[in-house]
Subunit: 438 residues, 2 copies
């Protein structure tokens, strides 16, 4: 708009206090008061209140600003002024403006400050993302992802992306999405990079993969998406205790980062920050046996040998102010590749980490079978075709070592950080059984 | 193995010179010389030569080490000693060892130092990753991905993951993979996050997505994978010049990081490092018109209005020691959403960046149409169903602004950094028309 005036982002307003700047954005809201109006401008990095005074502006411009409609696009020029009553601490005194597009009254921006139903908002997800609350959630998501990567990159893990197209199933085929490959060939979308991770750990020592994973589950719960992002580390020469240690370190590190860098977003979401400040090592560690006993005392119907449901997880976590680690599950509730406990072969060296406040399982992992014969027996017991796993068996033939790892789902973690009821708001374009648009 | 001896990674050997340590890994190679043998140990972070002397060790242990087979797993204890003739600068004098699994001669590790065919190696990709060369390539890949994310995270871009399951096609349906969703519904795997990125840029100002993308192309060239990773930034209030500036900055930044942190890997790959050191701003900028003229002079059959083939890209890039930016392509060779040049509506404000040394297009992008009526005309001209694009049209109704962005494919970038003939080695588990395993 003007050569000499710097274009700034709203988040950098403080650094330009007293200076005349240009901000390019959209009208978030507007208050009028006779000869003065207060356009609230958003630019994707923040929101700032502008002050437009009639007798200081070109009359046509003032009238245009005063009548501006929600989400109209405009570039404002003016002076940044400290204002302790303003939410961000600064306001902008308007000296000029260019309106790029005025949204007409005849076809107004569909999302108004009034209440809308969830289906309506989800149908307008491409616009809904502009609202303060969705903005805050996705800001937290960005920080969580960045912190996860920083943790692994700084701790000697090599990122090795595992494939999305996979020929075989990791844990059965009923929840797999099938893809038409070329000439009638069928492939499946990955549910987990773990099997590949195990090969990569034998090559790199410590690895992680981090990408989208897919589950064709017909569940319609508030904890399920058909497409979600997962980070999965895997370590050679490692055991169940290493998994617990790394998972604990990771969770503490990521939570710390969110608290340090996304306090504004947490406040916007009215998150009880004290709940997150309590997330410190050491996390409580209990066995599956102990967990079952506690659940029975709390009135759950669970019996030894069964898997926990969502309600059980909530009951277990309510005793703690931080995540609780439950280990040594019965072999029959875990996948075929879990290493059995040498002292008690009916349980396996697996661990789940349950978030507090009823957010359920955020980490699942453990030690893998490294003995070839035992793995062969397990494939048979689970009626899995040996042929599809030949390459996986190779890892037990050529320099097999004890190894272990885990998976952590991004969306559940973000839901917990943000204190959300439903996981659907933790990803920009959620995919659920009845939701594939926009 | 031993409580008091620290377990270290080979890459940290220097910090432990003179100390007794433990290293857990695999036998990479072995030399014998009478009463002394030299196991070459790899642990995923490096390779170190160990020195085992017969009369300093338990006899059975010495014999076991001397007869050890490739890729057997073992933990070695010994003293780190500086040795300027050793590749890493250090050796380990063996004091003890525990062999976890000896690979038997009857079923030896299949990848030997002799030459193997590509199909054989690709069938054994889960093991091939252990070799020095593959290890180096994936190390460079890790650094490229980390540097890309650091660049965007440090320059005000918000990461907003775009969906993998998409209802509509970005650029036609012929190269789309179809997925069976629930109850007979069909969805498609994303080819690009761009359309969603545009919505996200209107919410966050500057965004990027970074994930796997899919193309069901029947091409069997050395530049094509069916599954590959792509980073795509998008900026509101931005134009073609902004795209060039950001792409140039990004490429210079990432190349600098690879040179700074992965020199060992580049040396292992026998990469001509001077070629990468030449990658500095400013990159040459030419128009499509100029490119066509040059190609004609160089003997290409191209005529104005045609798209460049791989051979044309190579011819164009051979004049430069750094990437060349070619802009303002004929509208008919670019997608429907490109903004036309106001002065010459037959060309669009798109730019491709061609890597030197014949590595082809590494970046493609430009300015998008922000006018609703023009976009509607384009949808019609391209025979695209308006209904599927209603949400995309919304972005032109509610506060439309000029905006621009680009995509950069990770695998081509890594191939260029590493100086590779074929793109298939730049990803752990490449997927091509005839390759979906392991």
């Amino acid at each position: 708009m003007s050569e000499s005036v710097p274009r700034i982002s709203i988040r950098d307003a403080a650094a330009h206090a007293g200076a005349t700047v240009e901000i390019a954005g959209w009208l978030y809201n507007l208050r009028r008061s006779g000869k003065i109006c207060f356009p609230l401008l958003r630019d994707g990095t923040g929101i700032i209140q502008c002050v437009a005074v009639k007798n200081q502006l070109d009359e046509a411009l003032f009238e245009a600003l005063k009548d501006l409609t929600q989400e109209s696009s405009l570039i404002v020029r003016g002076r940044i002024r400290a204002e302790h009553r303003a939410p961000g601490g600064y306001e902008l005194d308007v000296e000029g403006a260019e309106i790029l597009q005025r949204v007409p009254e005849s076809d107004p921006y569909p999302i108004t400050p009034k209440e809308h139903g969830v289906d309506f908002l989800m149908d307008h997800r491409h616009l809904w993302l502009r609202s303060r609350r969705q903005h805050a959630i996705l800001g937290v998501r960005h920080e969580v992802i960045r912190a996860i990567r920083d943790y692994f990159d700084s701790n000697g893990f090599t990122l090795v992306d595992t494939p999305i197209f996979t020929p075989a199933a990791c844990e059965g085929t009923t929840t797999l999405f099938e893809v038409d490959y070329f000439e009638g060939e069928k492939v499946y979308l990955t549910q987990s990079g773990q099997l590949y991770n195990e090969a990569n750990a034998m090559a790199f020592g410590k690895v992680y993969c981090f990408g989208p994973t897919f589950r064709a589950e017909k569940s319609k719960t508030r904890r399920h998406l058909t497409e979600f992002w997962m980070v999965e580390p895997e370590m050679a020469y490692a055991n169940l205790e290493d998994v617990k240690r790394v998972a604990e370190e990771l969770i503490v590190f990521v939570t710390g980062r969110v608290l340090e860098r996304r306090r504004t977003e947490l406040t916007e979401l009215e998150r009880d920050i004290s709940k997150l400040e309590a997330i410190r090592a050491p996390f409580p560690r209990i066995s599956y046996d102990e967990a079952v006993e506690r659940l029975k005392q709390k009135g759950s119907e669970i019996t030894w040998g069964g898997d926990f449901g969502g309600a059980d997880e909530t009951l277990l976590s309510e005793d703690y102010d931080r995540p609780v680690m439950v280990d040594r599950y019965p072999a029959q509730v875990k996948a075929f590749y879990f290493q059995p406990d040498a002292q008690r072969p009916e349980v396996v060296l697996g661990v789940d980490v349950l978030a507090p406040e009823g957010y359920g399982e955020i980490v699942g992992g453990g030690q893998r079978i490294h003995d070839l014969d035992l793995l062969l027996r397990r494939l048979e017991e689970h009626k899995l075709p040996r042929e599809a796993f030949e390459w996986y068996l190779d890892l037990r033939k050529y320099g097999s070592v004890p190894h272990a790892g885990f998976g952590m789902g991004v969306e559940r973690f973000v839901a917990w950080m943000c204190g959300l009821e439903h996981i659907r708001e933790t990803i920009a374009y959620p995919r659920m059984i009845y939701r594939t648009r926009p």
